[in-house]
Amino acid sequence: MSKLVLQARQLTKVFSSPSGPLEVLRGVDLEVAAGVSVSIRGASGSGKTTLLQLLGGLDVPDRGKVEVLDGDVMVSPARRLGKAQGFVFQNYQLMPELNALENVALAAKIAGKSDAQARQAAEELLQQVGLAERRTHLPAKLSGGECQRVALARALVNQPALLLADEPTGNLDERTAEEVMQLLLSLVAARGLALVLVTHSVEFASRTQQRYVLSGGVLVPA
């Protein structure tokens, strides 16, 4: 069996609400091996995004533990943000003042690359996502599909072993969504990355190797 790149044990997350504590996740277990793609579907408000944030280290569970592969050891994802795992968000989350190239290069610079290295890596990634010609454009001048491709390039620029995608096609029309998803899956496959994809789409979920539904705070194989 391939090496694990993500391991989550008994993840529990409780939010406070006016009607009392709301337990969104109730002991979720998940293991993702290198090169394996996983999809998670679920109703709105079921906790898909919360789970993805816990898996990526953007939030901390109330109980349970998450670890991601960093080199040869498993570490807390919060310690390796932007390096061991890349994120693609539904709303792209690009810096509005930076152009496409700068947005991608910024992630590389934060990871410790020099300006020249970051720029070179960003240019290569933008070439791969088909945006080399639009690298100097600001996000406001790019279409939704182009913005998501920039966000994908940014997520991959530090060569993570794991890609976490939160409804990456949620804001796109059907045709653009299909293009972006094809690109995402082909890049993941070409690089041998593990993928955790949160989506509403049964169609896109069916293209992953392991499929789950988040229901009642637990993951159920689909």
Binding site: T50, D59, L81, F87
Partner: protein, 383 residues
């Protein structure tokens, strides 16, 4: 931009006030020294043998010059115009006499027993120019009249007119030779006091203490003591104004804090994204802290430029204020200077810059700390 302007105005107001107050203080100190000397020696009665004491004092290593003087009020008259003057008898040969520097018409060296030097304001009151004559009535002449003898005024030709810029002096001063003063006031060879000019005026109190040893009948008054209350008032005024201006700068700094806080809140989502990309907390803090520091640094630079501009055009600005509010020349009337004095003190500039930089950096750091402590998942939910 507005934040930088706010800091700039705060710094400029602080420095303009401090520089002008320093100028007033320095000018007053200089005028006091030039009008009264670095150290004045007086007794309970007029000094009987001033020449002997002068010789001893001139030999002292701390003394650069010593001269005797006498002074008193007199009535000056020219035709239908008259004025009360503060007449001072001075040693004509004294090359250190500061009045030499302030002669604007005529020549100081023309002063002799038949001539007088008048302040510009006094000359205007009497409607006299250089070469005109004035009559001088001394109190001794009144005594003469009381004894039944006909008093005769002394006649003087105006040989020079001086303008110190110190209205109190210019409107009242009349300088005549000491010898003539002694005759008109029936002083004989006596003098009212001695004036010392010192090589280091700042050390006047120590020098005065040392020189007074063994001369118990005399009082040695350093220039710092001559108008002590006045100088204290200026110092107090400067401190109070610094305090008020400090509050203005503080208010400007709070406005920066609120601007930066708004900026951080507006960019909360981006802060979340930066953290998601791996940015460390200290990098987020540094980013916004640096923004506050940069606003402070640019504000200080702007404040320095504004300070220089305001002070360079101060006469025009003051003239416009006087013209608008119709208060006349306030500087001349109230502060007795012909123009607003300045004294740039590097110490004030360093303190203002350091304080402003500290406050603006802190104003940036507080929201930065808040932003950096937020979880990226929460931050990215904000728009």
């Amino acid at each position: 931009m507005v934040s930088i302007l706010g800091v700039g105005l705060g710094v400029a107001s602080l420095l303009v006030v401090q520089t002008v107050m320093n100028g007033f203080g320095e000018e007053h100190r200089l005028r006091i020294r030039e009008s009264f000397g670095d150290c004045v020696i007086v007794g309970q009665r007029p000094l009987e043998q001033p020449e002997k004491l002068l010789q001893t004092l001139r030999a002292d290593s701390a003394v650069s010059s010593a001269t005797s003087y006498a002074e008193g009020p007199a009535l000056l008259r020219q035709g239908d115009y008259s004025a009360v003057a503060a007449v001072r008898g001075i040693e004509v040969g004294d090359l250190h006499q500061p009045a030499r520097n302030y002669v604007v018409l005529g020549a100081f060296d023309d002063l002799d027993d038949g001539r007088v030097i008048l302040g510009l304001g006094l000359a205007r009151q009497l409607r006299v120019r250089v070469g005109d004559h004035v009559e001088l009535w001394s109190p001794a002449m009144a005594e003469r009249a009381e004894k039944g003898k006909a008093p005769l005024p002394a006649d003087f030709e105006v040989c020079a007119i001086l303008r110190t810029g110190f209205t109190e002096v210019d409107d009242r001063a009349a300088l005549i030779p000491l010898r003539r003063f002694q005759a008109l006031w029936n002083l004989g060879p006596r003098a009212h006091g001695l004036i010392l000019r010192l090589k280091d005026p700042a050390k006047a109190p120590d020098t005065a203490d040392r020189l007074s040893i063994g001369r118990s009948g005399l009082r040695f008054v350093p220039w710092q003591e001559l108008k002590k209350n006045f100088l204290e008032a200026i110092r107090f005024e400067k401190t109070m104004l610094f305090f008020l201006m400090f509050i203005i700068t503080l208010v400007a700094s709070f406005s920066i804090g609120s601007t930066l806080f708004s900026a951080v809140i507006r960019r909360t989502r981006e802060v979340g994204v930066l953290v998601a990309m791996g940015a460390q907390r200290w990098q987020i803090i540094a980013l916004f802290g640096l923004q506050g520091w940069l606003i402070g640094a640019l504000g200080i630079l702007l404040g320095f430029i504004l300070t220089w501009l305001i002070l360079f055009f101060r006469e025009g600005i003051l003239g416009a204020i006087n013209h608008t509010f119709g208060d006349g020349d306030m500087v001349a009337n109230i502060y007795q200077f012909s123009k607003v004095p300045l004294h740039y003190d590097a110490h004030d500039f360093i303190i203002a810059a350091a304080f402003t930089l500290l406050v603006t950096t802190l104003a940036g750091l507080v929201p930065a700390l808040w932003a950096a402590r937020r979880k990226p998942s929460e931050a990215m939910r904000d728009v």
